[in-house]
Symmetry: D2
Subunit: 351 residues, 4 copies
């Protein structure tokens, strides 16, 4: 950490900064420059609270040189984290996972049917919302517990593992009973009560990047999970807010290699929410794999025209089959492969 002093900062101010750093238990080293002095904080263990320094007299700015996160960092753990699901799917290794399913669980027929179709096409994880966070209080909010029960039925019937979203701390316990992965949505990326509970519940967590979260903030949100003892974390890029209105969000695929450099956690992409437009999901799912994503999460609906939410971005099953073929080819350029399809006879559904 570097504390940059104002050009006209007095020697007393500089001394004050040095003392404060020492009182925090770190070493301080003043670096006089031509225009101004800076004070280096030596020994930063990733737990320095810069707020203590920013308010001091004569301080122009505090620049982080060390990373503010710790356990999520690749400097803390060099080898890639691999999350293994009960049905054998491994996320974060050389294989690329495909999670697919409708935006929302709507009925037994819908979710069980599509789960079987997706399994046959090669997906190994089923997505589907039981609790839906909706911008308007007047939109469909999901089937709730009934939806969780239907997801569990679909797992029985298909062998797919299940990922679904929890909206609050109580929801975490509920979702953990039924699902294999607890999803934390973009709007809740900095809902710390939710993060802490999800970090305690002992199931893998899929953490989506917030609408305008920096990569640093995403990693700090993941740090909340690891700080509670849960290392089974999968990150997800799902598009950030931008100034153009042609697409719902701007899918930031560069975040994938950037995060892979900074962290050992696996990262997947959600091109369905990332674009919001069916016709753009295929190209962007392909691009995510080519950029090195450890997986993709795709909305597929048996009948998108009748979907209760996000129909405009859901693929038809035949489009999904085409996408699987394309991704299989692209994997090879990176010396990777898709997670092998489930063999229903031998797959072991989660309890």
């Amino acid at each position: 950490m570097l504390v940059v002093m104002k050009q006209d900062a007095s020697q007393a101010s500089i001394d004050r900064v040095v003392e404060t750093i020492r009182s925090m238990g770190y070493d301080a080293r003043p670096i006089p420059g031509r225009q101004r002095t800076a004070v280096g904080l030596i020994g930063n263990d990733g737990r320095v609270d810069s707020a203590r320094l920013e308010g001091l007299e004569g301080v122009l700015e505090v620049i982080e040189v060390s990373r503010p996160y710790k356990q999520v960092s690749r400097e803390w753990k060099v080898e890639d984290t691999v999350v293994t699901l009960p049905n054998g799917t491994r996320i974060g290794g050389r294989e690329i996972v495909v999670m697919a399913g409708p935006c929302a669980v709507e009925s037994r027929e819908q979710i069980v049917g599509i789960a079987r179709t997706l399994r046959d096409m090669g997906a190994t994880v089923l997505r589907g919302g039981a609790f839906k966070p909706r911008t308007s209080p007047y939109s469909f909010q999901g089937l709730g517990i009934k939806g969780l029960e239907l997801l569990a039925e679909a797992r029985e019937a298909s062998g797919l593992a299940v990922v679904t979203e929890a909206l609050d701390a109580e929801g975490v316990d509920l979702v953990a009973e039924y699902a294999d992965i607890i999803q934390i949505g973009a709007r809740n990326m900095q809902n710390y009560t939710l993060l802490r509970r999800a970090g305690q519940v002992g199931k893998p967590v899929l953490l989506k990047r917030g609408m305008s979260a920096t990569i640093k903030e995403l990693l700090l949100a993941a740090e909340y999970l690891l700080a509670e003892g849960n290392g089974q974390v999968i990150l997800c890029e799902r598009g950030v807010r931008s100034f153009d209105t042609h697409t719902r969000n701007l899918l930031d695929l560069t975040a994938i290699p950037v995060i892979q450099g900074l962290s050992h956690l696996p990262i997947i992409a959600d091109p369905s929410h990332g674009t919001g437009i069916r016709a753009k999901v295929l190209p962007m799912a392909r691009a995510a794999v080519a950029a090195g994503a450890d997986g993709v999460m795709i909305e597929v609906h048996p009948n998108p025209e009748m979907a209760l939410s996000d129909g405009a971005q859901s693929l038809y099953p035949e489009q999904f089959a085409e996408l699987m073929e394309q991704m299989r080819v692209i994997c090879r350029a990176l010396d990777r492969s898709l997670v092998p399809p489930l063999d229903l006879e031998t797959s072991v559904p989660a309890p």
Copy 2:
């Protein structure tokens, strides 16, 4: 609502859109154009779920002509909402409210002392965090219930009303016991579980705009509160995310007159979080008042250099006094005035 068809949309697709609109209970009117046809949805009562239409074949885009929010809208209620606090402070009328206090409650001495100082300088509402949402799990997270108790003591001692943040549904009940206004922070603007509980608890709510929330999203978040029966809502502009790193956020003061045109709810500005820099708080607080804000929320700390959080953006008490003078002058240009200072003898502290 206008459903714009693709240029090559078939008549069957257009008919399908018309039927779907009618099945939703509204009237549909096709409007043929030179390049394409559009279908108008007539009778929109603000509850139309456009997702039903976006997924239909041949649809290019759905354009909202009516507003998707309802009870927060000025078209629903023409007169300004005025929120009245137990100590007599009125928010949303001709008077401009000043809320001030430290970022976090740190000790009895700190909070009671600053409350008295601020009251003497003319503020009528005390801010101070008991539960602090922090980006890093390693930063100071607030005193919790102890902090709420100290806020209540400071209210007794000063007559100021108290506003403080709730981080989750349980927190809402707790905060409602001690505070006069429940604050919902920027990170939680779309935490719907939290919004719903806050809408049920019967106390005024201060709703901060999310880091990259559009004005429409802010109003829809407020709609969650009103939909639960709570009309005592104060909105707060606190800066949005931008590409420049000179300031922590970009304070969007234009949002103030824009929202006043769209909604009857009062709106205040938080220039402390909006800029993150002490020296910029005075000019931006003045600017907020000049732009027509119904109030400002200002961080003031008895000793910013020792603050446990956000010291760099906290004013010294003497700076706050100077700001009060400046705002008093600016008010006159708009034919408004500051909320009159409390007369401690006669002020009625909240129970």
Copy 3:
């Protein structure tokens, strides 16, 4: 075009809008709604100046339903535009073009050497700046005309076609003498004097998207070129401004399929400027091809550590060779292939 009236707009205001539209030579159709009236403008030929309508009394907003651009639009010309260069490279068909070279031309040895290397590795177009737009007046600004001469020498020696940037109208004439493609940089996307001259000079133009240009603005900038009679236009996505500072820009790959839906013009991606970091260029170049780009533009330097500009984002030649292999595999997933390598014996360098 839809003119949406305020809720309380008088009948006289509505009539005024109708008259104004008719006086502009179009047909007007009022559409009464539950909350407000809208007036449809029928017969929009892409040349309507909405400013005439926005200022009228009672108008809330003007919504474009037709596209404001015309000749660049796929509705104007259905088939893909293919730009053919003197050395036989075709841009915009089933083949994917690779443009490569250093950020700036630095010396004969550098540019001729790298051109031969790149040709041997399969590139068919050489990039290299002779005139460099630099944020600071104190940075290296390019070799100027000397740089253009060296590019022409490199073309002779390698058979590669040459693309290089023009900074102003005079520069266009100069660049057109030496290069095969005139590049217009991101900072100049809305430099209309430059666009007009480039539209008149009779050579293909590579138009880069501005730092925060919407897709609509990019297409309108291209419309300036076509309006001057130049249909040989290649668009280029090179990253937009965002709030995260981990990468220099945010490469918006979704823009590629979006633009391919809206326009018949070819579009390539520049992952070198789009990310600004060497290690991210490979993944993002692969992703661009997977997203459907008609080509990529890559910075390669014989010795990036000694580069006079943008060394941090330039590939080593061996990395470029690896990338060529990867892109060759990815192409297949889309049923496309790279532009075939030049056969030096038979290639026809531009005069």
Copy 4:
């Protein structure tokens, strides 16, 4: 400047950075840290080209501690720059300048009439476009030289000084013949050919901030003007691009105090382009003055409903008169005053 090394950087890489810095003529000081080493560059005179260092092996990032601009910096020149116009208006001192007029010059009657009206209401500078940069090639592009002649006539008739935009280097010479201030528009903020010519022509320059320019980029663009010897530069905040579509741009008023801290140059605000909506111009002009702007630039049209461009954001003359009154009151809170109105008898129009 601080060169931060990767955690695993070898001693050889560190030595290489130290040598490179020394070869550039500066002093280097390695600072070992717990996680990584950083190398300080001592003696930065604002002309260091960081590109030389970013490409070196083992370098993680280069952090600027000194400012990359020089002559525009307050550290280079402490006292405020005051630009004085031929009619006596001083910009950048204690007085606040009001520039007003129509978006575009449309006719003699329009421009001479409004100039007299504005003069009578207290403005001292007339704005009006003769050359208009328009997003679409099909929009009205201004009257050109005829417009410049009419502006000069309006100056004769009113005593107001004239500011108008130049679009290219040739335009600079032309505009310099007729106007008192040469305006460089947002789209051209990084048009370096234009900046250089404007820096040479010996007239004050009004430089508008680019659509998504950082404050650093704006100051570096101004540095181009000062580097050519022109110190008579006025900066202008006119709104930046954001994600909300309620307003055309997001007026960044915080930039005003931030820039006043960094630079000695005067800075004004343009709330007309900054908001794009007539009803928001008054509050934002007031807010700009309250934030400390050295002036405002306001679009006023004798008949906004008939304006050929930007009618929706132009004030009616009576609204402008009301605004003048409000700004006069707000000034007092800052101990400032408006530039005194011209006394036509004694005012000295520019030759």
